[in-house]
Subunit: 195 residues, 2 copies
């Protein structure tokens, strides 16, 4: 730290020691570019901030305990389940309830700089958790933001090898998505959802 | 990083390399506890995230260039100037305009846990920058949040030496504060203000 009198911080795993006030707080664009894209094209990808979870077998209140880090928000990759074997509709039910989409999906852009227009790279869907069974579920304070790749980010990197092409094929067959969720008023749960 | 396949991140100075999505994003309580309190009782305190600035000689749009880090928000310590030599009223004017308080100050608590009630440790004031001279200034999108110590955080640590007592005396004679400001819709400027 040189002559810096930095207060003692937090150790994350055994690889990253953060001073107080530093935390994983990614922008939407960073989630897509640096994490979800890697995970989609390289399924074995792991990182220090984002765990993996089976969303259908995990209730929202169990997620903090399964996260790699986070205080009021937690990030996960997950494999989206299909509601019906032949369809693309997602199954977001758990034993205790279900996640229901709300509002309109938000487009996520990469700002290219200069005169080039922003490029769409992902979408963000907001979902609320309801206890019970639809359509009579009881709304809770758990909210999730679900991210998925869109546009150019769904294409493999031009310089990458045929491994990426293989990954692209499998991602075309099973739509690639990502998600983040949070509990009002102060708990933010963030999921990176992947199929 | 062990077997983690962490994407390449950002170097902060020469002492801290952050993976993508990690940034300085302190809670109000952390600003008070880990940064402003240190600075108040040890004026030579420095850290990697928070620079120092003369707010009266710096226009808001010049602040990003003077920050140690930050993209949409920037943190500084500063010495609050008095409007009149004999009073406690702050002078928050610059050559181009002035910062004007808005809304009600927010109390900042340290959650002690257990059955003990939360302890007040600081206050947060919101200010907006107006171009020109009061009362006819033109409102801008620059907003600042100003933090100051309050309650128990203004007392020196019981285990510390007489150095802290001396610092406490000087801080009693010149009120200790801190601040954060941001530019809507996306630029957040954060100041830690100190007198």
């Amino acid at each position: 730290m040189g002559d810096q009198q930095q207060p003692q911080g937090t150790s994350i795993g055994d690889s990253l020691k953060l001073p107080p006030g530093f935390r994983f707080h990614p922008r939407d664009e960073e989630i897509i570019t640096f994490y979800l894209t890697f995970k989609v094209f390289q399924r074995g990808f792991t990182c220090i901030a984002i765990g993996e979870v089976d969303l259908n077998r995990t209730e929202p209140w169990e997620l903090p305990g399964k996260a790699k880090m986070g205080e009021n928000e937690w990030y996960f990759f997950y494999q989206k389940d299909r509601k019906y074997p032949t369809g693309m509709r997602a199954n977001r039910a758990t034993e205790a309830g279900y996640w229901k989409a709300t509002g309109k999906d938000k487009e996520i852009y990469r700002v290219t700089g200069g005169v080039a227009p922003p490029v769409i790279i992902g979408m963000k869907k907001t979902l609320v958790f309801y206890k019970g069974r639809a359509p009579r579920g009881e709304k809770t304070n758990w909210v999730m933001h679900e991210f998925r790749l869109e546009g150019s980010s769904r294409l493999p990197c031009p310089t990458s090898s045929s491994t990426s092409t293989g990954a692209l094929k499998s991602s075309s067959a099973s739509k690639v998505v990502a998600a983040l969720a949070f509990m009002h008023p102060c708990i933010l749960l963030s999921l990176l959802d992947l199929i």
